[in-house]
Amino acid sequence: MFSAKSLRPAEDIGQSVADEPVAAPRAFWFLGGIAAVAWLTDAAVTGWLPDIDDFDRTGLLAWVMAGIGAILAAIAVLGSLVPKNVAERARYSGPWLLLLSGVFLAWELTTAKFTVLPRPFFASPQAMLEVFTDDYPRLGLSVAHSLRLLAGGYVIGAMAGFAAGVAIGWSRAVGYWAHPALRLLGPLPATAWLPLAFFAFPGSYSASTFLVALATGFPVTVLTWSGVAGVNKAYYDVARTMGASQRFLVLKVAIPAAMPSVFVGLFMGLGASFSVLVVAEMMGVKAGLGWYLQWAQGWAAYANMYSALLVMALMCTGLITLLFRARDKLLAWQKGLVQW
């Protein structure tokens, strides 16, 4: 008779995470209290100590710091009234928030208050804040331009790379002709094509799209190919004995089996596309974050440059997070944590 005995009990799977002992919320969150005091100190120093020069956003910065301090103080004192997940997140971030208050204090003192670090190369916190409050239209437009160029090139490159990888992995004839070309031209950095691309394409936008697609396409091709070539041959035998067509073998066996490898390629392609994007925007395209960086440097607007770097970092990490979310969703069968 069949019984569930031969199955690993469901409780064995993924239990450890859920049952991890969580510290019972105490009446007063001590670390939070210290962090609150530290941020309020930052606010006081920023607001009351005179600046070395005219900064427009010193007041706003002080208020932001005071706001952080006030929120921390509220969570520290009234922890039991705050939603549980918010309180837990705050507790987890506590040490980081404390460290950051120290960093901001040191930064504020060494730039805006006493100019220990040479101007204009080192921007003050309020100068960077000013970029976000005053230059956000240009910064936002740059992000939009970068995203448009990146998305266009990445999607084209990923799709072309995926199709090429499947074709090379599946067909011996395609592999014969594509392999040497791929081997010779693939490792060439996409940026090396830059002069040729700007000359061969009608505009800098299409040229840059091509370069981003090229940078994405190579890793996606190679890893899709290796994924398809590495599929367990027994999977094909199983499907063939059940009357599967060639089309079924490609679409329903080879491609799903290769997906873990394809995602490694998509991840590597995304990284490569960032670097090509920035170079293309610095060299030819008159828009985007790469262009903004170049422009800011030309005007010695260092605060703008640092702000653009920060925005770029957030954009890149956000896109990679998005890719990983998609992977976790599509490859849930692989993780070994699926519950039913």
């Binding site: 031969s6 799977i13 367990n232 059940m242 009357g243 079924f248 692989q334 699926v338 039913w340």
Partner: protein, 264 residues
């Protein structure tokens, strides 16, 4: 496992007869040819359960691949119900030693594979439920393969084969990697399934007891290249008992043929 349904699918498919006529086969290995089958000939009647028994690596699994149509034989002919085997066909489905379930598909989607491949899933999806019920996995249809024990995975593999309504089920050491207790249970399950469903079955195994417990005929093969050493009828009714003196007698005879009777 078989208490739930008194029948498999209606109408119950009649078993196929198999003729293996003078089949030899060889592999190319490092520029040399490696003969694996040497003029093998036998006939299997419709509805029989025949065991191919031989030492490890003797070529019995290769013979099964030829019957499945996954490879053509070097020389010789294979006929199913008088028709030459030219390629794979869902009526001759294989259950392999490894479950070879697709890890990205749930249990249900794995069992649906054959119907999906032939575009029959929409029309005949009910057969999936039937097959799952038959192997006792109705409650696990949304599980992924990595969540199953070895025995359960092999049952899914069995359901995946049965959903195709095989007339000749090819069993390639299907219980070889299971623990001995699960193996004993599943031997009984396979026999009762075969008795009720009416298909023919060709079982490749290197387990003498398994062959004698399950099959009505045991074909003993020699070392590579495999040739038929003996064709033994197991004249015992089902259900059989492992301690039956007749089984002990036959086991001694078969082990003798395999040169392993010294310790028995």
């Amino acid at each position: 496992m078989v208490s739930t349904a008194a029948r498999f699918v209606e109408p119950a498919p009649p078993g196929s007869a198999l003729d293996v006529l003078n089949v030899s086969h060889a592999f190319a290995l490092d520029g040399k040819t490696l003969p694996v089958l040497d003029r093998v000939s036998f006939r299997m009647e419709a509805g029989e359960l025949v065991a191919l028994l031989g030492p490890s690596g003797c070529g019995k699994s290769t013979l099964l691949r030829l019957v499945a149509g996954l490879e053509p034989p070097s020389t010789g002919t294979l006929l199913v119900d008088g028709q030459r085997i030219a390629g794979p066909h869902p009526s001759r489905v294989v259950m392999f030693q490894d479950p070879t379930l697709y890890p990205w598909r749930t249990v249900r989607a794995n069992v649906s594979l054959g119907l999906e491949a032939r575009g029959l899933l929409r029309a005949q999806g009910g057969r999936v439920d039937e097959a799952l019920r038959l192997v006792g996995l109705t409650n696990f249809e949304t599980a992924y393969p990595h969540q199953l024990s070895g025995g359960m995975a092999q049952r899914v593999s069995l359901a995946r084969a049965l959903v195709n309504d095989p007339t000749l089920l090819l069993l390639d050491e299907p219980l070889g990697k299971l623990d001995s207790m699960t193996r004993i249970t599943m031997q009984g399950e396979l026999v009762s399934l075969w008795q009720r469903a009416g298909f023919s079955a060709l079982l490749v195994t290197h387990d003498v007891e398994e062959a004698l417990f399950m099959a009505n005929r045991v074909i003993v093969l020699s070392d590579r290249p495999a040739a038929i050493k003996a064709d033994i009828a197991v004249d015992l009714p089902y259900p059989r008992h492992r301690g039956d003196p007749r089984i002990a007698e036959l086991r001694r005879e078969v082990l003798g043929l395999l040169g392993l009777d010294a310790n028995w």
